[in-house]
Amino acid sequence: MELICPAGTPAAFREAADAGADAVYCGFRDETNARNFPGLNFSREELGEAIAYARRRDTKTFVALNTFMRAGHEELWYQAAADAVRVGADALILADFGLMAHVAETYPEQRLHVSVQASVSNPDAVNFLVEAFGAKRVVLPRTLTIADIARLARQVRCEIEVFAFGGLCVMAEGRCSLSSYATGKSPNMNGVCSPPSHVRYREDGGDLVSELGAYTINRFPREEAAGYPTLCKGRFDIADARGYAFEDPASLDVMGEIDALREAGVCALKIEGRQRGKAYVGEVVATLRKALDARPEDRPALLARLRLLSEGQRTTCGAYEKRWR
């Protein structure tokens, strides 16, 4: 299976390529991709240099153009696609049908991957995108069990990539407006979720309170480490229950299921984390590379040290395990 690794900066890109990534994915420094954060991402020139660097190591480069084109401003996305093709992207990762149609018509030779943001969760949907746009690979949403993936893989005519490590969306990706409900900025339209521009921390009665827009997302007593207020990972009150209503602040880690995923028909494992620094990327990629190449009995020891890097140091198999639902 291929290991698909994140890069938010040219330095992280080189780190990932050196550490054994089969492919590195990245985006331009604007709203055309779903990690549109200050200080992240690539200029056209940086992407060209990164692709050249990757080629020398036999590593592929995937360019994410995985937000939805803002009506009346489609040219920004069309230009990004043109530039990514021109500098030699091995694949474009797309979510918007309009953009998929444009790429399929304008660059018929260009390899097209379906982003997780397209929310393709069943065989009929996959085959639609294969037939309509010639999609070669689909990144599945984190809503499926391994058994669901295996069943889907048998019925589709394209490659399957899944998330294996890193941040975890509890909601079906590409179909969530929670962030914009609180802040006006969304993954689909602006490439951001729970953006730092709308985050505030304040002290209140010995607690540290984290806020997103006008809303309290969490409260941390002094003895508890404070986390970033990602909306769906906050603590809320529902009737008499208080707690993590949607998802605990845990990271996804299904590297213990490598063999099951391979048998299910998965061809590529994706690491989340374009917002992470190069040290994190280097460590995670190197370790997962070793784990992929290791014998199953040697994997647990390799993977144990990765847990220390995970958000809240707790991990979950998420939807890959049935009881998560």
Partner: protein, 310 residues
């Protein structure tokens, strides 16, 4: 400019209502509500289908007899094999127009006239035109879209009847995991249909007791209620053809009449807003998405007056 006057449509009941309540609701809509189109059928969770299925045929008959155009809804999230089977059978057998709420239904409906629901990501005219070429005849745009996007899409996509969510809690997210069941000590696979205890959604408050969201099974909806009333004339001027009312647990006939009165120029929008707050006191009103702001915001305004009676 399309000279056709916009009409009202009723979206599917997103919540789990017991069968008799659901049936009685549609009987009253058929008899009394000034809506031209009614989208009907389970949209949120495939586990709920058996609650309303025994009443579906009668409800549709009643609506058709009353002259309503019936559109069958489909599931918003299709992951299980039985869910795929359900959508395939519904698309294959339906004598009615079907509304696609996920990509599987969209795929299966190619080549025949169909509707596209607000849960399919249509953010630009390129996408809308693509869907039109595949057979879509109407598109209800996602609630997240600002007015500028609606205007651009509608003006650049001839041949599609565009619809905008004008009333109801906004669908914000859907998950394979059921937060509603979990809040009541269950998991999805053994949920005991506890979402049926909350026919208008289960409120989610922040730790500082701010009303924030509401749970509806695997779906998360806004706590606030989208209310586009002062915006109706401008949207009609831009060519929007239908305004969708999403059922809440309140007098939806009264809600529909308020919208009808505003559209017909019989009632001032500001008066209608006051009455709307009385008709649905459970949630504050919001229109932030439409004005390019956070969705929960309420933007009071008067600048529609220029288009007053178009």
């Amino acid at each position: 400019m399309d000279a056709r006057k916009p009409t009202l449509s009723l979206g599917p009941v997103l919540y789990l209502w017991d069968g008799p309540k659901w049936r009685d609701f549609y009987c009253r809509i058929a008899d009394e509500a000034p809506v031209s189109h009614v989208v009907i059928g389970e949209t949120v969770c495939s586990k709920r289908l058996h609650f309303t299925e025994p009443f579906l045929v009668d409800a549709i008959d009643r609506l058709e007899s009353a002259g309503k155009q019936v559109i069958l809804s489909t599931l918003a999230l299709v992951t299980l094999e039985r869910e795929s089977h359900y959508v395939r059978a519904l698309v294959a057998d339906s004598p009615y127009v079907v509304e696609a709420n996920d990509l599987s239904a969209l795929a299966l409906l190619e080549g025949r006239a169909h509707a596209v629901g607000p849960l399919v990501n249509v953010y630009n005219a390129a996408t809308a035109r693509l869907l039109a070429r595949r057979g879509a005849t109407s598109i209800c745009l996602p609630p997240e879209l600002p007015a500028s996007s609606i205007d651009a899409i509608v003006s650049q996509t001839p041949g599609i009847a565009f619809e905008v969510l004008a009333f109801g809690r906004m669908p914000l997210a859907i998950s394979a995991r059921c937060a509603h069941a979990r809040a009541k000590g269950h998991i999805k696979d053994n949920c005991q249909f506890v979402c049926g205890e909350d026919p208008d959604g289960l409120p989610v408050k922040t730790l500082d007791r701010q009303s924030f969201l509401a749970l509806n099974g695997v779906q998360t909806v806004s706590f606030t209620c989208q209310a586009l009333l002062t915006e109706l004339h401008e949207l009609a001027f831009q060519g929007v053809q239908r305004f969708r009312l999403s059922p809440q647990d309140c007098d939806m006939v009264a809600v529909a009449r308020l919208y009808e009165d505003v559209m017909a120029g019989r009632m001032d929008a500001e008066d209608a807003l006051q009455r709307l707050r009385q008709a649905y006191p459970a949630a504050p009103l919001s229109n932030g998405f439409h004005h390019g702001r956070e969705g929960a915001a309420w933007i009071a305004r008067a600048r529609n007056i220029a288009h007053g009676a178009t």
